[in-house]
């Protein structure tokens, strides 16, 4: 079956521009997570959704970052007025439920480069 997909796979943008990153989770997975991973670093939690609601937005680095999910399916992470420190791989994961007992299935990530 289809796994988690993300698009684009690579995105190069100029400082100050807005970008949208897309995640298509596994069908039927109610939980969806966004993470950021800088080069050589671990995963940094950004936000998660349970259904279309985001109970925890505490990981979003600034108000330039926002995310939404619709139809308990696709999610979009938007970064406004990108900065060079936003350069990283953005990973999306989905799971049957939100919690430590549930396996997270990760997408391949979107590599964002801000020039």
């Amino acid at each position: 079956g289809a796994g988690v997909s993300q698009s684009p796979s690579n995105k190069v943008t100029e400082k100050g521009k807005d970008v949208e990153l897309r995640c298509d989770p596994i069908s039927g997975h109610t939980a969806l997570y966004w993470y950021r991973q800088r080069l050589g670093q671990g995963l940094e939690f950004l936000i998660y959704f349970q259904g279309n609601s985001a109970p925890d937005k505490s990981g979003l680095p600034s108000d330039r970052f926002s995310a939404e999910r619709t139809g308990e399916s696709v999610s979009t992470l938007t970064i406004q007025r990108t900065q060079q420190e936003d350069s990283a791989v953005y990973l999306c994961a989905s799971s049957l439920g939100a919690g430590g007992a549930y396996e997270q299935y990760f997408g391949p990530g979107t590599r964002l480069t801000v020039t």
Partner: protein, 112 residues
């Protein structure tokens, strides 16, 4: 919030057994212990999950002592393709978001 501590890196050789220990001193009663593997340029993938004692699957074994304050991921007879970063997570079925954090992981390098 169960904080986890793992070694930053480990080196091994092909054919050897690799054991990675994760410390989680303030693990809660309902917390599960889950390990993920991440290859370069890929997202992490689930390896194994346990609650207590020992769990084994086709990829690895997970040893959890009675006090559950640590856990050890064991990779038998590693090959070069096992070179990856390994993450330990601790949380219960309600822990999500920043209550379920991956941390820095352990970078395992398997040498010929």
């Amino acid at each position: 919030l169960a904080k986890t501590t793992q070694p930053i890196s480990m080196d091994s050789y092909e054919g050897q057994e690799v054991n990675i220990t994760c410390s989680h001193n303030n693990i809660a009663t309902n917390d599960y212990i889950t390990w993920y593997q991440q290859f370069p340029s890929q997202g992490p993938r689930f390896i194994i999950q346990g609650y207590k004692t020992k769990v084994t699957n086709e990829v690895a074994s997970l040893f959890i002592p009675a006090d559950r304050k640590s856990s050890t991921l064991s990779l038998p007879r590693v090959s070069l393709s096992d070179t990856a970063v390994y993450y330990c997570l601790v949380g219960d079925e309600r822990a999500a978001g920043n209550k379920l954090t991956f941390g820095g992981g352990t970078r395992v390098l398997v040498k010929p």
